[in-house]
Symmetry: none
């Protein structure tokens, strides 16, 4: 199975071996080790949505150690969080699981039509904490997007120079887009492309709907008959949009919902050829045993996918 | 034929030999080697217009390797793209064709009356990827133009210091101009002059129309009887406007269109004394064989031009 | 005659000898060598007004070498231009005539009530190109003026540290002033004072009219009976306003006009005790022989002035 | 034939694409283009042995342009020289042939039992002059060797970071070795290994004799029956000693001698599987026509070699 | 006559225009302006030999202003001295004559078999004092030579980057050489070559004797029948040794001696094709009128030389 991992690493041909080492670490960790597939646990909701909205439902989640334990118990490939959460467990769990330090985050105590996250960590932090990668969020569609791209460019250059891969959360939002446009298929595909062109190694997008936001795009989707009816169709298109499949594209789970709903969505994503899922609230807001069970079921879906 | 190349290099008299080396590399590559003429393949549309609008028509173009192959098969002088596309092939194709790293790019998920691209790459990236030049876009006419000029100045200084030439896309747009004004002859000529004064080695502009945008300019065009009736007239004037022909000026192909239309336009551009074309969508949106044929026909037109 | 040059250099008592060396170079060059008077050729109009408006009337001027040749043939003290124009001839003409690199410039494709030029060159550029001075434009009266002053301050500090004098184009404009106010005598005098206080070695202003823009100033001009009726009166007042004559103040020629008009204006400026003229469009838009003749006649006027 | 070049480039798997670009440039230049074999012209003897000893025999060689012309006429892969010689022709010949800037050199006006060259150039020089690589000499066997290794390490790090390959002249000498030991087979093989371990991309050693210098080595050569009787045997062993053939190893021509002697030695070197020769005095001390003929004959030998 | 100056500047093809500007300044100054010949006044003997040995014979020479006056009165191309002497007059004489700041100097209060000068000035000093060049002394033959070469390399890089030419005093001495060897023809020629390879623009050596110091060299001088019998022969050989005449080589006057002796030696140097002389003690130790007369006579000799 390592062949698939080597194949994927071969796509990152301009990077230092140190970057490949960390990508391999993530791909050789957990229940999906060796498959080239990913299930990542992200816990940035405390910062993004506030503590009660994030952790009250499953109170052990207030404790940062809880999420390391969850990610380990569930056999995830990696655990992603902001600075404070990682600092609070990085010694105890040092080397037990690949960590992704999210270098920017948005809180919800101020809202803007054109959001832009705060820089909350550094490449140096990622190195001292023993992380496997840095994470960074961009908001295509925001009037502030160019500043985010420029910040990502600089952090990315530094990360790559130090052997760290770059995971980009590419989440369209802002004045340039309607609410429906944030998950429109044309916009999701475009968001994946932007992250790839900015040099991301791993790209995280939201599952796309069949809405098409931009008129200029609509013409092409129609004239070229790009299939976007089903979720697998759309996921396939998004993966293709990230360099014809030569970049790792994973999908977020979105809002908390019922297990069946979650699994149905994952099945669609997996059938579309996605490289995996990043599953936060649907994991850590369940009791640990349930969460572990859910994540393992998801891993099974990806293992069985083509 | 190398005499013409030496003559052109002689114009760049204040530059390090390293800059001349890379200019020569571009001028001694591909089917136009030694003629001092250029056909360059640029593929930044994935970032600028989105993936479906760019690549759906000819789906192999989603894969970054495709464009290296196309540029090589068609005997282009160079291939220009943003960071991600070049990183994805720079090792496999190292040294096979001169690369131009575009250091700024705009996406279309937010539109502004006064656009300004994001910085998406660095001179250091260009050196590690083995590029022959950096590329940079300015939007004269935008209220943000001065920031772009200042960014270009700083990147240009660093590039020249390290032996890298500077290719400037000078594309007028923004509140200062009407839509027709973006390709007006006076504005195109002015855009070429601005790029030259900012120290560009190679200047890329759009084919100008016979519209004259600015009243103050109109008076002069009329009183001095500057011929702008035909495309060759206008191209000649734009080339003259870039230091009396002492800078390399090439023209973009613009929107995708029919082969006959493309070739008629190229003939006009070549007749006007242009140094060549930069041909993106009209190349990579055709099947490879067609694109190669088209690009070779274009090269023939430039080879036969005076 | 060198006595006058030494006297002038004596005013710049806090500057490094390297700055004085370059000031002397300008004052010992051309037909006015040794007189302490200046006729400088500036050619930034290609950037400021566009190529056709600048060069169509005398087409050889599209070629950057032309202006080096003109400045040499006419025996000017120096030639001032933006980066691109100087780079294009700096090796061929190295050391033949003092060069002034203009470090900021404005184009006319966007207009603003409160203009501010773009930074287009560096002190490092001036050193590598062998320039005798840097040039910088400020727009007193613009809401952006303080940024310009701050940019000038920083560049000035670096230039002086490296032995380069600072030539300031002090051109009042912006929301703070009426159109007539831009050349009002009180405003011109004030503009000269600001440039001097910012540490300029050579100050370039426009010939003032007898309009008085500011009420607070008007009261003083009337109560103190400052003579402003004639051009010599006004020039004398502007020169006095630049540290009682202890700074070099030169006057621009403004728009292209007839020879008699030009010479009459120069006579007035010279009679007022100006240190010279900077003559762009009225020089390079004439055929070379006419321009040389005109510039020599102007030099004669300054030579004969007290 | 490019397959062989790609195969060789594949060995340098930790380097930036920019380094591979320059290695490819050397391997795709001259009469041996595409074969993976090298004939390089080095002219550092003016510095190393003095001008008369170097150039009196063929006086046009006093002129730095001569050696650019010779390398071009003979179809060499590259031309290597110290700073002064390259500066004197880098503009005229910009981009015509890959240049290797030797960053350290020894003169012969002081001799030491433990020699160490002076640092005479920088990576920045190599970039501004448009070089394809840096060159550096180490003297294993000298008490000063560790300083040379440390200097090489630092320059190498900077070169690789900027996309420049590193060519190492590994010439054993110093108190640690007998005179015969300088070319002993065990010492030559060891010198190749040291250069490879220090990160060299291209390694230049002297043709080894069958002398074995070190007792500890002698035991192994005897017990393992390493064949060192013939020059091909010994060359094969040296190439093997540079990472089992995964590094480019080329051999110097040594002192000037007769054509037959030179060709016989080259045949032996080629038969042993060497990647080529670096041929200085035996080239530039002959009249140009003879030198070109000799170098082409040498290239033929390498082309025919396995 | 400027043609000769342009021809000489053409040899320095890798340098910034700023370097050429300063070389032209020296070549267009004084009585030899435009000839490409040099007579330079150096006064570093106060530091090198002590004040009484240097200035007692002609006591006005204790005053630093004296030497500026002498260089001006005698129409020299430049005046070279250590930091203190230049600081003491740089403002008064700013721009009147090109200055060469000697960046290293040796005193005589400690003597060493292997001398090495102290660093006594900086490139920044040269810029603030308005110098036309930096000067630097190397002692080939000293065990410390490599440190001097490395210091020169670094200062040279900085000087060239800032538009300042590099004048190298290449004076063989130290344990590697006999006393006679310091001016041996083979050693002088070698010293010129070393300076040229280190990137010097102007090279100063001592007039060579017909002694040949090194056995390896002797063989070549004899076998190649290099003429070294007369001073013109030897000078010709030294000039040839500095890149076949593509570098400016000037000769020192050596110890104070009688006028006839001086002039005879200069005649020999000039007949050999030297670019000029640097004349210290034989100038400033004479009364000013005599010194001026002598220097003008020397200039006449160079003007009449081929």
């Amino acid at each position: 199975m390592q062949n698939r991992v080597d194949e994927i690493l071969g796509w990152y041909e301009s990077d230092h071996p140190g970057v490949l080492k960390n990508l391999r670490w993530m791909m050789m960790t957990g229940n999906l080790a060796g498959t080239g597939k990913f299930v990542i646990l992200p816990v940035d909701q405390g910062f993004e949505h506030g503590p009660a909205r994030s952790f009250a439902k499953n109170a052990p989640g207030y404790d940062p150690h809880y999420h390391f334990e969850l990610a380990l118990a569930a056999g995830c490939n990696a655990y992603a969080a902001p600075l404070g959460f990682l600092e609070a467990g990085a010694r105890k769990y040092a080397g037990k699981i690949p960590l992704i330090l999210k270098l920017n985050n948005s809180d919800s105590l101020f809202s803007s039509k054109n959001p832009k996250p705060a820089i909350t960590g550094s490449v140096k932090d990622a190195l001292r904490l023993g992380c496997a990668a840095i994470g960074f969020t961009i908001y295509p569609g925001s009037s502030e997007r160019n500043d985010m791209y420029a910040e990502l460019r600089a952090l990315s250059e530094e990360a790559k120079d130090n052997g760290l891969p770059v995971v980009v959360w590419s989440y369209p939002r802002g004045e340039g887009l309607s609410k429906a446009g944030e998950t429109a298929i044309d916009v999701c595909a475009y968001a994946a492309q932007i992250a790839a062109q900015l040099g991301a190694h791993v790209i995280k997008v939201k599952p796309p709907t069949n809405h098409i936001e931009q008129d200029a795009a609509k013409k092409v989707y129609e004239s070229e008959k790009i299939p976007v009816a089903t979720l697998p169709d759309r996921v396939k298109h998004v993966v293709q949009s990230a360099f014809g499949g030569r970049r790792i594209v994973i999908f977020s789970g979105g809002e908390a919902k019922g297990t069946d709903e979650v699994l149905a969505e994952i099945q669609g994503i997996a059938d579309g050829g996605a490289f995996g899922s990043i599953m936060g609230r649907n994991a850590f807001q369940r009791p640990m045993a349930d969460a572990v069970k859910l994540l393992k079921t998801i891993q099974d879906i990806y293992r069985k996918a083509k």
